[in-house]
Symmetry: C4
Subunit: 253 residues, 4 copies
């Protein structure tokens, strides 16, 4: 803060320069830093997520990826949430915008940053694992049993409804907001993976699906991981706008 | 809050309308929203619970359902507790009423909402899992070894005593209330499942038992999951009213 | 609090009665309630601990008992700590007394309450498990490989040093006290069980060892679970009194 | 604090003695106690870490060491962080110094204390485990598949970047600092072990690698666990100094 004090006794030219810097800094902190944060955070989340799926080969059940996804997400939201809100998930950004927790101009940049971050994280996973281990696990990409498309899509809707409800009630809705929201969100992902991993993989996040789909070039039934989470986000929006939101959030009564 | 300010300069007719709205809103927030919350929260809890039991087939032990039940419950209590208290369990509602943490008029509506929520959650589980996988796990319903009825019932009493004690000391009893109560409650469920899953299934919650019993039409020894948890709640009430409650809660001394 | 106001307008006889009640209540809250709390909390902890060991048969590793012990202990300390300090462990009570976190008159009553609680919890475990399953796991009692007595004893010393250091730094030492102490203590037990379960069983608590030793009548090498934890407590006391305590706790400098 | 008051009425000689004591105490609390804390905490962390790796033989996956490392580290940072910052890791100390969270004179003493602590913890592990079990697991030391050196090194860079980013954002960077930092750091270690244990072992900490390398005399590819974590720390420093730090931490804008 010594810098700021010095400006005041400098020449007019330098003060103007300071004002320009201050404006640039403002734009940086309001738009650039949040988008970079969404990109960086999503890449770390998708890296840990994909890598934990590959590292889980040979064990029973899905404890390792379930806990890894939940903890990585909880930690990232806790620390980066104060910069960008800590979405790391296009379905969350959509829900946040529709529930009044995010401004429109950031919506598309956030989703783009999340998708680029997903590719970066999935690329890092590809770089650290030997080709055979990577390919055997589809690089952490999702796949669905061909006779369970409708069930998988419904599972993604239900689980994303749970997840985005937790995000909205914990981090947006004023009456129920909590300092525990970050870990509530992460641990909801863990619980949902235990519930639905054997059906749809329990993705709940188009960016998490998109990254390894690009890196491993695996696209079969990829639409499920966009349609399911987006529908789940819309279910959450209607439930909260009509029933569970506080007075400011509810549309009626 | 701009809406509220406008009312003051409106015509008398509109002001009256505002007063009616305010009264309706009050009834909504005091009675309707909490009951809807108990229904919605119980359905998410029972969905994750039942689905995690089905998804656990093929692993060793009960880590996945134990952690899934505990985390889902902890998260739901943390966020919805501020609306309805976050019971999601008839045994908890009964204990809360008898320990002074809940008003009588809500007791029966809460229990009805929890049972309907249990059915909804179990129905969602049935919808996302293929019929054979669903049936092989009884849809997450509870079953007891025929030669262990008394042991199972006692186990439910002891574990529900632990659970409802944590609810009362963490969320009702003023001297020991804690902002950590939600996760204390959820993680007690996790610990109890590790303790008693191989005996009684570690239900501790009639709504959790009732939902999948309806959805899978499996009713053998169902009474255990009402008698055990209710007796556990009553044990907790007597211990806290006589020994562990604060001065206001204790009946003697 | 309506009761208190009424006393003021009552007759002298009733006011005296009030004063007697108040004195009795004071003794109850200072001595009786804490000891009952240590007994009750230890019985729940030992019940979950022993039952989780029996329920773990057939799995690989010790995840279930490790997490069950840690969560049950963390929850109990969080909620009952405000009444009794939440020791549930004679080694912790000894360390607390020697580090200035507990008054002498409560030391022996606490240890007696913990041992009785340990027996009660182990007895409940015996009551809910079939005889053969119970006996096959020694009822959750500890046993040591005959050629690893010294190693087991040393392991108990090291792990109890870790555990009691966490108790003292988190709950007694003013400079480092934390609202997270309860779960720090519980989760240290979890971590230590992962570290030492295959050597000594990772007991760290004479009451946890004593209860199932009585219930299952299994006493071989029982001394290790008194000598190890007590030595660990003494190591902690010397480290904290000499090096890690705050100015008030340190004996020199 | 009674001691301090007495000094004021003592003779000049004794007051001088008090001033000397006070100066010694100041040096002790600013330099000696933090270094001893780093040594002691690192030894407990490395003990639990190495022992949990040896105790994990015979299970599937790495849940036990992943959770043990994370919880032990989280607890130690929570309680000892208020004395020394709770680094227990040369890569963290380097990053903390370069991000402005630590003074230069402590850097080398901290790293030396951490390496000595690592040796002490690994020595304790060697003391409690039978020779054959100890040797079969390399005493918890790290090893790399010979055809995956570059991948392992990159994995250590990425995971240490994640870890040190969490340390800096959670404990140093003013805008995002959080009372949850300790467990955020520990649980990031857990998540990373799930991500990278099958490639590089997921060390992220030269002291954790150095201790068992000495105790088990296992040095093959040891350089990876210095180069990888140090590069990860430097990546974090550049990301935070350029992009994610608050205004005071960022070097530009
Ligand atoms: Ca409205
Ligand atoms: Ca009373
Ligand atoms: Ca002193
Ligand atoms: Ca600057």
């Amino acid at each position: 803060s010594g810098d700021e004090i010095k400006h005041e006794v400098f020449t007019i030219t330098e003060a103007t320069e300071g004002r320009n810097t201050s404006k640039k800094r403002c734009i940086f902190e309001k738009y650039v830093q949040p988008c970079l944060t969404e990109l960086f955070g999503t890449s770390l989340f998708v890296f840990v997520g994909c890598a934990s799926v590959i590292g889980n080969v040979g064990t029973l059940g899905v404890i390792q990826p379930a806990v890894a996804h939940g903890l990585a997400l909880g930690v990232l939201i806790m620390l980066f949430g104060q910069i960008s809100g800590g979405h790391f998930n296009p379905a969350v950004s959509l829900m946040a915008f529709l529930c009044g927790g995010m401004e429109l101009p950031l919506l598309v940049p956030y989703i783009v940053a999340q998708m680029v971050g997903g590719m970066a994280g999935a690329g890092l996973t590809k770089a650290i694992y030997p080709t055979d281990k990577y390919a055997a696990s589809l690089g952490g990409a999702f796949s669905v049993a061909p006779n369970a498309l409708a069930e998988s899509c419904l599972a993604e809707v239900v689980m994303t409804t749970f997840l985005t409800t937790v995000v909205c009630m914990g981090a947006i809705n004023a009456k129920t907001r909590s300092p525990w929201a970050a870990f509530c969100i992460g641990l909801t992902v863990t619980a949902n993976i235990f519930a639905g991993a054997t059906i749809s993989g329990a993705c709940m996040n188009p960016a998490r699906a998109f990254g390894p789909a690009v890196a491993a070039n695996h696209w079969s039934n990829h639409w499920i991981y966009w349609v399911g989470p987006i529908c789940g986000a819309l279910v959450t929006v209607s439930f909260i706008r009509l029933m569970f939101g506080d007075q400011k959030t509810r549309l009626v009564l």
